[in-house]
Structures are given as structure tokens and as C-alpha cells.
Symmetry: C3
Subunit: 671 residues, 3 copies
């Protein structure tokens, strides 16, 4: 988000639902917000029914009062359009608003984000209330952002969607002949003669990944439809307040919509960060970096995180003492410039009544959570705008692509355990554990800023991508790609000719076959250059590789392909192209990535143990180094002989420092 | 059931389906019934289609003949209305009779208990056939009870139910404003302006416990609807035969309907006892005690149990030799005054063709099962009415509440493993293993009869309940309650202010947070008073407790809350209130409950090993002690120096006795 | 299939989809086919939409061209009617064509084999295109067979099927009284008064095997409907080309249709052989023998097998080097006279784009798979017609019956783990591991050709079967039958009187009860005659057996039935009838079957280790012995002192030979 001149602090606060409370409680909130250092709240996310009790009749007075109180208490707002949960009267009066599910069932009114994004009537009424709000609050002094709806992502299979899907296809393919060709419909006799003969793949006609090309296009279509649904409101808001950023928040479950495409039409990226208690800290780190990629490295909004346990995890573990702060700084360290929470005050009823909040049902200020939140609030205010200008600079990029994700997982074979995010995470973690900063890259990113690029499972090679990668390598870059790369075009049609298709020349190999291993099976990676013949475990998939120009860095240790290459290197132009033909154990990847980075002069600021994370942000004249201890134990870090400035204590510091469990240290150093 | 003057024996027999057989077989049945000592059968449970082949045309002659034969053979009957399986013509002619399922699918004719309980036409035709039977058989001399329908419990989501649900809500809440408030609809924007805007929660609008308040009320509504459906027939039967008890049998799967509410409108409670081969014997014991609670300690009917294996368990193990009798006396020992079985003769076709029966397909009287049944029949006749007058007297009560059950399990968080029955069973078993008799209590029961009351997971505190418990403790009672208590009101709204809400004063604590543990995780209970610091395992949930007036009996052994209280005691008035903040291992609960009982002078008749159960019934002048060996091994019990009368052998007995595997001994002693 | 005079070779080739390719690629195919020795392809399986772009408008020219090319290249064809995937316009214009699924959902157009087999319009259009093809290609010189549709087996629950099901029932039972009796509808009150009151069992009315008799008849009805659907085309084809065999290919998932009934109306049996990588080789062996049973021992067609991994297994392991050939000869050794593959060329898009093919996406002739296929093609041509005339002669038969399968698994109880195919396989494997050839037998097969017959789990005893088995034993045969035998009639009604009903006299026992064991439980078989009292493990089910005339060969080792018989032998006439009352471990069955065979003079050609298979085929003057090494290791086999002719090397051979991993040896010996 663009740095806000009027307000040089990290935004601190979060979702606030005063429509659930009486005036006394709201006054109490103001008092507690003040104590906790809250400076921004998001509202009124779910209040459509309260704001528009019947069609076209608006009732904003209660909200006016609350906004006055917030203003009086110097608390800014992200105003949300309340359109993620339409009022019951709307669903009842215009049933077209309700979605049809993948099983063909018309839904009835009830849930949130439970409307057809293509419904004309939904869009009409959503636009109307958005306009009403924009008109009323365009000059509200505390308004810092527009938060549109909430966590888009409901797929619909209704007749409207069916019709629009066909039109979308018509626009994309122009003729049925072209579509037949691109979808390879001659397989299993699916040739069509009219766009009206095409049905959205659903449980009614597709039991087991029957028609990946059609599903892929449906997911593209749903992204486009949801984008339009967002723009339906955003364009109105922008008309009234051209300087106020407009965004929607991305749900933690990010797969359903192409979020790169979604955020293209937003002014800033925003997401909800809910790691599971069992997630390795590198997993939210990856997602943070993905969010930073949305707007090309600009800072992003953490719209929600939990001040304590959630209620909807299978087992809702308490956040450990200090852990709220650990996660907050992880976000800031990766590029967020807000620290917002769901939620300010815990609801007394409904699905999330046991979800953590800054103010719990106990309504006390001496709770562990309130105390931790207050401490963090104060600390962030002390930080002022130090972190806001700073940027992350990475020499390593990892390519991520939504359409690649979808196509890879829609594909039947070679293994049922295909999980793109999990696979990308393996490569991400190899750098993370080495404290080497990574940028997640779009296919459209500028590759020339990077020394090393990893393209894990780059299954789908779209127009121009292979050429772009070749240029990167020719110019001296290191490219690492893997099994399941170079297989299909943007319509999930396999390359004709040997794999990895368009990547073949650069990689200097061809891949004949891919063996799928059962989870209990494994093979070994045997390093060619290593006299000790140290072996590393591998599994999942094992490519059968033929060398063309490449050399084998490692070979398989067993099975009928024992001794054949599994990891190869091709010198190409001034650079190097690596191919990893099987899924190695973490230790191996960790070593391999470190070694490639070393060769390119990429190193970590400090070495740390697992679960002690380093983030580095660079401002105009100053470098901030975040040391984050995700472990429930003390952690020692050797800072070396250089002098650093300890941002929290404001002291000079060097040599070995010890962090408490879940503690964070920020070091400043001049650039 | 009221003791039947004309018939001073335990009712012995069960479900009989002569409509499946020819006359020769029926004559053979009479002969075998006589040999086995059968004195009562239930019929004609599923004969609606045979009795009313077309609308309003009745065909009772075949039943008349059978009833004559039964009378001639001195076999009494529970006459059942055949309304649990409507005839196909009824479903076909009036499709409103068929239910709609939770997925919104109109069902087609086929299954049993497969009608909408709110269908006007179903009720009309059910009333008509009930009246026809009542008129015809009101003076039948063998009639000892009316068994209405069978195992109610089908939920329906049709338009009729939708409409009636709204009316039911209107009656309960009067205004939408009140409903909005009680249901906390402002959460996630569910405010309604008309009762017609409310939908029954179903798969069409509620994917994951989305709206607990609405689901809770739906379950209440379904109980009320089913009660009305029962009364629709019962009131007619009572008109014709005011002295004959009317009841329906509760299925073993008891959760769906509030069985306390159901049996309120019955003259006697009746249930079907089908323990799984893997159930600990304390589990059916708990259910028996729950059945005894239905009518406030009055004896109840075991309407069904299996004379051998069932067919619908995953693995249908044979009942071990003697085990039919073990289970029969367990029922009688807990307060049943019937011993009825499903079924007298095994059906040759249909879903249950492999379900055990007194007379198997082999049609022989030398089978193991027939011999065991005959022995039991004779033995029960010898017992005469000894057990019928006797009552169970317990000093310990365990509170059980259906609405609490529903709300607790509808709730999302803190753990997905919430199972009220399993949790209550843990506390029940602590007494069971100590051979201490327990009464299951309704919230409306008279608490003053008890010295110790346990209220496990008393999540929902209804109006007046906290006050009632306070009086109990003030007057000297011991109350034990646990994690997940005192959290919500009857609409599943959390208390505002610290947990456990209204129980806080009495317990002298407040609970700040509740940690959920993964199944593989645990913590320890460290006894404060115990110098040896013996530790017991605990897990599931760990409350963070603050002492107010209470003292800590034990503290946690690890994690960030190591050393903070996990079990507390508050002296309150003349009594003591215990709070158990985490789920302890069985050994700990066993010791803790024993110690509390000892302090109150509650002890067991005898000590026995696990799986050797003691039940005590007291008559006017005599105490009956049942010693029941549920183990497949011999078991020694020391009776001490007192003289007892061995009811079966009619000898005097004292000192150590040894029971054979699955054997039962009943001791008499004067009071 | 009848030996084709014009073409004295094994048919080698498979599914070919030239409609997916351009002319250059097709020319390349011809070249590669020639190199690989392909002599037959099947086409155009999925080309209906291409052949009939609108109703009644045909477009065969593209196919004509391809057929010309094939002819020019001396490649024969199985012409397939393209009716397994109707064109979209057909589904759109006549929605009756689309099926309704078991959940009552009308499907939309999309999948293959996705039509209602009872749809009048489907049959009309299918007949039309079949006739068009027959007319056009009746004189095509390369035509060697008609392959109708593909892998029938879609169940439908639409109104048409409902109506036809009722008519089918009416025809079968004539009166509702008779149906009520045969279906035992009095159980659970299902008596009907009109055939229109009967509904196909589905998820809408049958949640848990509620009505086995009705489901059983539905499966019979679906078989009859599918048979008619096949004949709808086959009769037309036969009219035009009376000498060309007509068939459809049976899917590997064979349960849904009674394949004995299906192949009755075909000229030759054909199936698709897709073993899972984890299958023991005896499992496809059993299925091969089942296929040979279809037409009473005549050779059959392998229509599909995979030249490499599939894509739709959970984990798609590569076929190991040589394994294509291993599996090919296993088929031929069991009686196949074709060796056809899915597929010739790998599709670039669609569900199966990663399914193995002779020509992979790489389009190279130096791939491992293409080389192996070429070697096999040449080898088969060298074999000429040696294997085509030869027949398998077995002294052992195992009875297999589809209706028995269905009824057994529809039944609720005694165990949920009932799996007929898995159980039959246990008995099959006992012979397989002894290298003793087995014929799978229909109930209508001539039993007099066999010395030993096994009837595993012969649950359903149809009219005449018991008598037929009695004659077999009386005449000196050895019959082995097991638990779950003799229980029900053809309507799943249990025998009245002791089990095993009509088999009781012959077996000389009666069975009182059957205990079901949990998977983790077991019992022991203790041999009566064995002084060492060696024990074998048993489990699953344990019958309680009473001896009448039989003697106990073994007794149980524990539980309350310790010492009672578990395996019995009854001498009956000149033969012996064995009953196995519990499921023994494999080692025991292996020994028991070997011992019975030895007694009858049945022995193996050679002894081999596990996973080295022996198949023997006898021609007019020559015996062919296939030695097939399914193991990834070398295997030694001792041929003894007799001289054999090694068919591949054309050398004489005797004594010990060693086979390479996955290698095959064929020995010839004069008869």
C-alpha cells in the first residue's frame, strides 16, 4: 500500500463488529482500543441486512454514530462494503442470487459468500449499496481504505454461469473448431458443433477429472467472473474517492481463484493469515512472499490474523505466549505494512463464537491476550514508519503460477499425491532454512533482477515462457527446474515430441518416462562427483532422463534405472540450467540450493537454527534485519563483529545474542 | 411400568412377526414359546400394509386368529400400531407422506421410519388405523401395553416442516427482533425481518456447523413434532384403554430426539439395547441408568435386545455362552422389568435375515441359543415378582441433558473430538468401576436426594440451573463439574463476562482460556497435596484457571501453564464444589470419585475386579444384590462375613464365591 | 475366437485413434506399426460425433481413408461401433438419452458410457449408425471382428428404467402375490399390491442394503437391459456380416453386469486387462481363467492391456523391463488368442493423456516401450499359430457365479468385509501356487469333466445346483465348499431348516451359527489326524459345525468352540465332500488342495517358486508349457530328465534352466 503521509505507523487493529453490541460496550471498546494502541478497524463487513433492511431503504445512522466515536478516538477505518453476505430478503425476492453447487443443487439462503458472482441482481444491489456508502462516507476523515466484500471464492454452476461460460469460451476460442482443437475433444468423442453443447464440468457430468481442459477454463472463467464482481463495486468507489485504495481480502485457501489476476485489479493486495498450529513457519513465510509478489514487491495488507486460537481448526491450540508478536513481525518482515486481526471483540454467538479476539467474552483487560496485544500495539507505534519504506531485495526467485497449479492437479496421473503448493514449499524451504530471501515470481515478472530462479513443476509452458527462461540463463542466470515440467500448453495439451518440450534445448536432456513411487517406496540420489558416493533419499516421481548436452550431477541408486541420471546440469550461454528429475529429501535440496547460491555470491546475513528466521528489509539509508524465533525454546544467534542497532532496546549490539522463546529482535544497520 | 397385578412375572419374549409365516409354523412357535417360557410378545410392528391393503379397507382377521392362538397359549401381548412403515399405496397416493432429506432430496418409498412426522396425511391415516386397532382389541384379555410405531427419529426438511418450523419459532420468540437477538443473527449478517426468511439448516445452506442456534432449535422442533406424532396415536389409544400403558421404543441411537421430552408423554420408557461387541459393560449400564431416569426412577421396558449376534454391526460376533443371561440381568439389575428380544423367529429374507433370534432358521430346539433362552425363561419365572417392586437407590447423580449434548456438539471448536456421551461415560465409569450406583439426573430432577452430583461438560446453563446447583452445594452436597461448563445460554450464546459464567461464584474460579490438545499430546495432573508429586496423564482440553475463592487441588505438569491450577475445590456453604479443568486418565477419575464418595460415606457393597458388576435393588423388606460377571473368565468375589440368600440356589452363602464366565448371582438380604 | 484361416497369427496391436491426428502423423503410424509388427487395430471407438455430426448426416470419408491406408499396410481391423460416447447434439436434443444416477440426479452430457441403456432414442440412433457402418464396411477385406461400444456397465435410475424394471418384475413373477412371497416383503412391511408400488432401490429409498432381494433383481434387470442394448446393434451387424464375430469388451471392473449372461449373446469374449501394480500375478490369472470360462473354454480376446503404466491408478508405476511380454504371455498361456493394447499412440489431451502407449508423446522409435513392443510383435509372428489351436485342460474347477457374488455382498452380516472375488481368489491361489491348472466353472458347466471342484462361498443355491453337485460327488468327484454356502435361494431367502440347506446331506453336517471375527482376531485350525497337532491360523468367519455323517478333519484351537469341527469330510457315493468352516491362512489351503489333488492323481508339470507361473496348453499333437517369471529376480526351474523343445530358441532343453527377471520360456513337447 502506498505509504500514508498522514499516518506514519503500522496499521494496528482489525475487524470490528459493533453492530453486535450495545452502546455501553462500544464505549468500553473505545477505552480498550486506546489501551491496546489500536489505530485502525475494519467495518461493517457483515452488515448488509442491517444497512438495507428492505430493497432500496437504507439505514446508516447507527454506523454514522460509530464512525463518529471512532473518529473522536483517533481510530482510522477500512470501510468495507457489506456485500459478502446478502440480506435474506434479497435471496428470497430474487432467487437467481443464490448459487448452484457442483452437485447441481440450488442452494438456499444461509451462508456467507453464498451468492452467484454472475447474478445480475446481486451485482445491481451490491453496486447500489456500495454507491450509497461511497456517497455518504467519501469525505469521512478516518477513511484509509475500501475493503470490498470478503474472501471471494464461491464457485457457481447455475444457468447464468453456464450461459456466461459459453460466451466466455466463444470469446476465447472464436470458433468451435478452434475449441475442439485446443481442448483435444476428439479424445473420448467429445467433439462439439455449437458452444451450446458445452457444459460446465460438475458432479453431474464429470466423476473423475474427466475433462481437464474444460475444468481449467472454468476456473479461468470463475476468476474473471469474480474479478468483474469485485470491479462492479470497486469502480464506483474509485469514482467517489480516487485516492483511497480499494481491495478485497484473499482467504487463506487461495487456490480457487487466480489471485495474481484478482489483485491486478486491486490497488493493494490483502490477505488473511491463518497458519495451522502444525505448519512449519516457512509455510506462512511462503504465503507472505506470494502476497508480496501480487503487486510486484509492494507492501501488502494482512487483513486478518488471529490474536489467539481459532475455532475451526480440528484442534484449536492456544497461541503460545509471545506468539502473536512472532507472527506479526514475520508478516512485517516479509513486506506487510499492516497488522490487523480478526477480531477486536469476540462474538457471543454463531459459528465463530470460540474464535480468538483481542477482547474476549471475559471483557477484561488483564487477560494474557489483551496484555500481549497492548504490548505489541505500543511497540509498533514506537517503530513509527521505519519498516514502511523498506523493501525486500532478493537474488532468488521462485516461479509460481495459478493456472499451472490448477492444471497440474486436474491431471490424472502419474500420482494421486500431486500437490503443487506442497511441492513449491519444498524448494522454498531449502532457501528459507539457509536464511536466503526469496521473491515469488509471476511468469510475467522481470527475471533479469535475479541470479537464481527456481521453477518447480513448471508443468504448463505458456507462450513465450520458455524463450524468456532461455534468455535468463543465457545472460548468466541459474535456473533450476524439476520433474513435471514442460509437459503441456495452456490448454493442458501435451507437447508432441520429447519432454520437457520447449525447455529441452536449454536443459540439454530429454525425459522418456516417469515412474510413480508408492509413498512407502524410495530411491536414492547418488552424487556423480562425490567420491564418498553419499546417498540421499528421493521418491514421489522418478524421471528417466537421457542426456543430450547436459551432464549428470547425480544418478539413481537402485531399481532398473540404477545409474541413470536423476539430476542434470546444462551450461547454456553464460548460465546454468539444472534439472531435478526426482523429489529429493529436504537435506539434499538444502545443500544443493546453498551451493548454487554460494557460487553466485548469495549468502545469508546470519546462520541460525531451524525455526529461527531472518528477514531483511532495506530502506533508503538503512537495513532492518528481523530475527524471529518461532521455537518454544531460547535461540542463540551469532551477529559477528559488526555493530548493529537494536531497534527495540535502542542499544548497540554485536556478537552472540540469545532470543527468548517466540521472541523477535530487529537490528538496524546503515547501508 | 406399573406392576401388573394379574401377572407377577418379568415379561419375557419379544418381537414376533407371524405375518411372515404359515399356520404350521405359527403352531410350532406356540410350542416353542411354551418350552422357552415366553409370556409376552410384541406384534404386529410392521404390518400396516397387511392390515390396510387399501385406504380405509382393513383386514384384521389374520391378526385375530393369531391373537386367539396366543391367548390360548397364555401369552400376553404388547400390541403395536404398525405405523412405522406406511404401505406403499399411501406413499404413492399422497407423496407429502415421504420425507425430504438433509440434502434436499425428496425420498421415494422404501424404508421404515421413512415418513414426515409433520405430514397431515400420515397422521390422519396413522390415527385411523390406531383407532381401528383400539376399537377392535380394547377388550382383548392378553393386552398389557400399546407399543406405538417403532424407533422414531427421522428428520425431515420438507416444505411442511419448513412452514411448521417457522411457526414454532414464532411461537417461541414472538417477534423477529427477539429471535435476532437470541440467535445473535448480527454475526455474519443473518438478521431477518420476517419469519419467512428463516430456513431449516441443511446441506443446502449450512456446510459446516454454520448456525448452531438455528440447528439447536430445529432439533427441539423435531422433538416436539415427533412427540405430537406419537400423541396423535397415543391419545386415541388412551381413550379406549385408559389403564393400558402406551409407549414407543427408543432406538439405541438416542441422540436425535430429546428422549426426556419424548418419554414425558409416554406412560413408561422403553428402549432397544444393542451394545456393540466392543463396548465396555459400563456403557450399556449408563444407558440403562439413563432409561431409568426417564420416568424418575420408575422401572422401564427393554423392548429389544438380541438373543445372539446382530447382522448390522461391522463384525457380528456371536454372543458368548451365557451372555444373553448376563445382559438380561444387567438390565433387570438397573431397573428394567421386562426382558424382551428382537426377535422370536428369524426372518428368512430382508435386511435382518442374519439377525439373531430365539428360533433360528434351523427351526430346532436343541440350538445353543434356544437352550439358553429356555433356561433364562424358566429362571425368570422362578424369580416371580421379587425384582419388580425393588428400586435402585443412589447417593450419586450425574446430570445429563439432551439440549446440552446437541449444543456442545454443534459448536465449532475448541476441538473436533467433542463427544458428550463419551465424556459423560468417563465420569460414569469412575463410579461404575467402584461399584457405586449412579442415578442419571435431568436438570429438573430433585437434587436434594443426592450426596454427590457430577455435571460433566455442563456447557449450556439454562434459566435457574446455576441457582439450583448452588442450593445443592450450600446444603452440603458435593458437586463436580468440568471443562466446557457454564459457557452458553439456551440459545448457545456465550456468557458475557468470565467463564464459567453463572457457575463462577460457586466454583470460586474463572477460566481465561482453553487449550485444545492433539490426540497424540498430553499434559499431567500434579496433585498439590501429594508429597510424592505423583502425576496422572490428562489431555483433550486444558483450561487456564484463575483461583478466586477456590484452592488448587492439582496443577499442570508442563507447557507454558505448568504449575497453574487444573483441578480446584471451593467450599461453598456446607458443601464443596469441584472443578476439573482437563480430561484426566481413567485411573485418576476412579480414585478421585472414590475419595469424594468415601468422604460422604458412600461405599460399594463389595469390591470386584473390572467387568464384574454389582447392582443393588431394594424392595420393601429385602435387598437384592446382582453380581454380574461380564468377563470370559471366572471371577472371585468376597462377600464377607454376612449371610446372604442365594436366590438361584436358594442356599445361604457367605465368604468368597466364584462366578463362572458370564455368570450372574443374585443375593437376597433382609433390610 | 474361431481360428482365422486367412490369418494364422496372434492378433497384435490395439486401440487406435487416428481421428486425433493429422495425415503426416498417420503415415508415421503406418511406418511404426510395420516396425512393431502390428497386424490389427481397433477403431473408431469414440468417433460417433465425428461420424454423425448431426442427426442422420454421416461423414465416413475420413474413416474410409484411414481404412484404405491400413489395408495397404496389411493391418487388419476390429471395427468398433462408436456408440459408447454419444454426440453432444444427441444428449441435447433428446435428454432421455442421459442417465439418472443412484442419487436420483439427472446427469448432463459429458462422460463416456454415459447413456441410459434403456433409452429408446439412444437405441434408435445407435442402431442407425451401426447399420450405416455395416452397410459401408461389410466387404472391407481387413474386417476381422465387430467391437460393439465399449465397457458397458452404467446403471440408470430414470423413469424409463423404473417402468421397464416393473415390467421385468411382472414378467418374472407374474403376480404381486408371488413377488411378495419371493421377496419376503412382509419383513419391515413392504407388501405391495401393484407392480407400480415398487421402486428401484437407490439412495433415495435405501440407505444401507435395505432390500437385497430388490437390488438383486435390479442387477439382473440391468444385465438384461444391457444385453438388449448390445443386441440392438449386434443383430444388425450379424445380418450384414454373418461370419464376422461380434463382441463388446468387458471392463476390468467386472461386477456390475453378469458377464456370463452378457457373453452368452456375444460370439467371443473380450476383456480389458489392467492389473494394479500391487496385484499378485495369480489375480489376473484368475480373471483370465474367468474369461476363458465365458464361452466354455474357447479362446478369448484381450481387447486392452497397457504397454506401460496407466494414468488412473493411485500411483502409476512403470511397467518393469520385460513385463509387457510377461503379461502378454500370461494371457496367451491362459487361453487368449489376441494381444491387443490400449493404445497405439498416446493422446495429447484428455483424462488419459498420461496413459501408456506403444508410441508415446515423444514419437520416437528408440524408446524402451517401443523396442519391447517391437520385439514382442516379432516373436509372436514367429510363433505363428502354434498357440491358437491349443486348449487348456484342467482337472480342477472352481465355481463362480455373478448372482451369488451380488447376493453375498448385498447381504448385511455377518461381516462387513465380505468380498467374493477376494475369497474365490484365496482358493484359486492355492492351486495356482501348486502350478495346477484350474477352469472357472459356471453353474451350468459340465461338471463331469473334473476330478476336483471347489465351490467357495456358494451362498445362493439355485434350482438344481445341489442335485448336480451331489451327482458329481456320487460319481467319484471331490467337492470342496466353505462357510457362507447353502444359505439362500435365488431370491436371497434363507433356507428354512439347518444350514447349509440343500448341501447338508452331501456334506454330512449342519451348521448352527457363524461367528464373525474382527480383522485383528484369529483362531486356529488343529488337524485331527496330525499327532504333532500343528496349528494353522484362521479367521474372518468361524462356523459352528455339527457332524452328521461327516468326520472332522480339523477342529478349532480356541474360544468357546475350541475342539469343535472346523473342517469336515463326508464320503458320499464314490466321492468326497469337504467343508471348510473358517477362512484358513494361505499355507494351509495350499497344502490341503495339493493333498486332495495328489490323491486324485493331479500334479504340476514342474515345481516353481512363488511368482513363477506354469501354463499348459495342449494342441492336437503337441503340448506347450509356458514358464512365466513374474519376479524381478532370476528364477531357476528344474525341467527334469525329459527333453523339451524351447520354442523361442528352437533348441532342445532339459534339466535346470534359469529365467531372467520377467522372462518367459515356452517349451514344446509331443503328446
Amino acid at each position: 500500500m502506498k505509504k500514508n503521509k498522514r499516518f506514519p505507523f503500522v496499521f494496528y487493529g482489525g475487524d470490528y463488529n459493533p453492530d453486535q453490541w450495545d452502546e455501553d460496550t462500544i464505549d468500553r471498546d473505545m477505552e480498550l482500543f486506546h489501551k491496546a494502541g489500536v489505530n485502525l478497524v475494519t467495518l461493517p463487513v457483515f452488515s448488509w441486512a442491517k444497512l438495507e433492511p428492505e430493497e432500496g431503504v437504507y439505514c446508516f445512522e447507527w454506523l454514522d454514530k460509530i464512525l463518529e466515536k471512532l473518529l473522536a478516538n483517533h481510530i482510522n477505518v477500512f470501510l468495507s462494503t457489506p456485500t459478502s453476505a446478502q440480506p435474506a430478503w434479497l435471496s428470497k425476492k430474487y432467487s437467481e442470487v443464490l448459487p448452484v453447487d457442483i452437485a447441481g443443487r440450488k442452494r438456499t439462503h444461509g451462508m456467507r459468500v453464498f451468492f452467484c458472482v454472475n447474478s445480475k441482481k446481486y451485482r445491481e444491489r451490491a453496486a447500489a449499496i456500495a454507491e450509497e456508502m461511497a456517497k455518504r462516507y467519501q469525505n469521512y476523515p478516518g477513511l484509509l481504505g475500501w475493503h470490498v466484500a470478503n474472501e471471494y471464492g464461491t464457485y457457481c454452476y447455475c444457468d447464468t454461469c453456464q450461459r456466461k461460460y459459453r460466451n466466455w469460451l466463444k470469446e476465447r476460442y472464436q470458433t468451435v473448431e478452434n475449441l475442439n482443437n485446443k481442448w483435444n475433444t476428439s479424445f473420448w468423442g467429445r467433439t462439439v458443433y455449437d458452444f451450446d453443447e458445452i457444459y460446465i464440468p460438475s458432479e453431474l457430468n464429470d466423476d473423475y477429472r474427466f475433462f481437464p481442459a474444460a475444468e481449467l477454463d472454468y476456473m479461468r472463467f470463475m476468476t474473471d467472473s469474480t474479478k468483474d464482481c469485485f470491479l462492479n463495486e470497486a469502480e464506483i468507489l474509485r469514482k467517489y474517492t480516487p485516492d483511497i485504495p480499494v481491495f478485497s481480502n484473499i482467504s487463506g485457501y487461495i487456490k480457487k481463484l487466480n489471485q495474481f489476476a484478482m489483485t491486478d485489479v486491486m490497488d493493494v493486495a490483502a490477505w488473511d493469515n491463518y497458519p495451522s498450529p502444525k505448519d512449519d513457519p516457512s509455510f506462512p513465510a511462503l504465503k507472505h512472499d506470494l502476497m508480496r509478489a501480487m503487486k510486484g514487491g509492494q507492501s501488502y495488507i494482512i487483513a486478518e490474523q488471529s490474536p489467539n486460537q481459532q475455532n475451526w481448526q480440528p484442534y484449536n491450540k492456544l497461541k503460545r505466549p509471545g506468539q502473536i508478536r512472532t507472527l506479526a513481525y514475520q508478516g512485517i518482515g516479509h513486506g506487510a505494512d499492516t497488522c490487523l486481526f480478526f477480531q477486536m471483540r469476540q462474538s457471543i454467538g454463531g459459528q465463530e463464537k470460540f474464535h480468538g479476539a483481542m477482547i474476549s467474552h471475559a471483557d477484561r483487560e488483564d487477560t494474557r491476550i489483551f496484555c500481549e496485544m497492548s504490548r505489541l500495539g505500543k511497540e509498533l507505534r514506537q517503530l513509527e514508519d521505519w519498516s514502511l519504506d523498506a523493501k525486500i531485495k532478493s537474488d532468488v526467485g521462485i516461479i509460481f503460477d495459478w493456472e499451472n497449479w490448477w492444471a497440474l492437479e486436474l491431471s490424472s496421473g502419474p500420482t494421486k499425491d500431486m500437490d503443487y503448493l506442497e511441492q513449491v514449499h519444498k524448494y522454498y524451504k531449502a532457501f528459507y532454512d539457509n536464511n536466503i530471501s526469496v521473491d515469488m515470481l509471476k511468469l510475467t515478472s522481470d527475471f533479469s533482477n535475479y541470479k537464481v530462479i527456481v521453477a518447480p513443476l513448471l508443468y504448463m509452458i505458456k507462450e513465450g515462457v520458455a524463450e524468456k527462461l532461455e534468455i535468463f540463463v543465457k545472460n548468466g542466470g541459474r535456473l533450476i527446474t524439476t520433474y513435471m515440467s514442460g509437459l503441456v500448453d495452456e490448454n493442458d495439451r501435451c507437447v508432441f515430441g520429447a519432454y520437457p518440450g520447449k525447455l529441452r534445448k536449454m536443459l540439454g536432456i530429454w525425459v522418456e518416462e516417469t515412474d510413480a513411487l508408492y509413498p512407502e517406496e524410495s530411491n536414492q540420489i547418488v552424487l556423480s562427483a562425490d567420491k564418498t558416493k553419499k546417498r540421499f533419499r528421493c521418491g514421489f516421481l522418478c524421471d528417466q532422463i537421457h542426456l543430450e548436452n547436459a551432464e549428470a550431477l547425480a544418478v539413481y541408486g537402485q531399481d532398473f534405472y540404477e545409474g541413470t541420471p536423476c539430476i542434470t546440469l546444462n551450461e547454456f550461454g553464460d548460465g546454468k540450467a539444472y534439472y531435478i528429475g526426482t523429489c529429493p529429501e529436504a537435506l539434499f535440496l538444502n545443500k544443493m540450493m546453498k551451493s548454487i547460491c554460494n557460487e553466485c555470491g548469495i549468502g545469508a546475513s546470519f546462520e541460525t537454527k531451524d525455526r529461527v528466521e531472518i528477514c531483511v528489509k532495506e530502506g533508503n539509508d538503512c537495513k532492518l534485519i528481523f530475527i524471529i524465533n518461532h521455537e518454544d525454546k531460547k535461540a542463540a544467534v551469532n551477529l559477528g563483529n559488526e555493530d548493529y542497532f537494536d531497534v527495540f532496546s535502542r542499544n548497540k549490539i554485536k556478537g552472540e545474542v540469545v532470543l527468548n522463546p517466540y521472541d523477535v529482535m530487529i537490528l538496524g544497520s546503515k547501508l
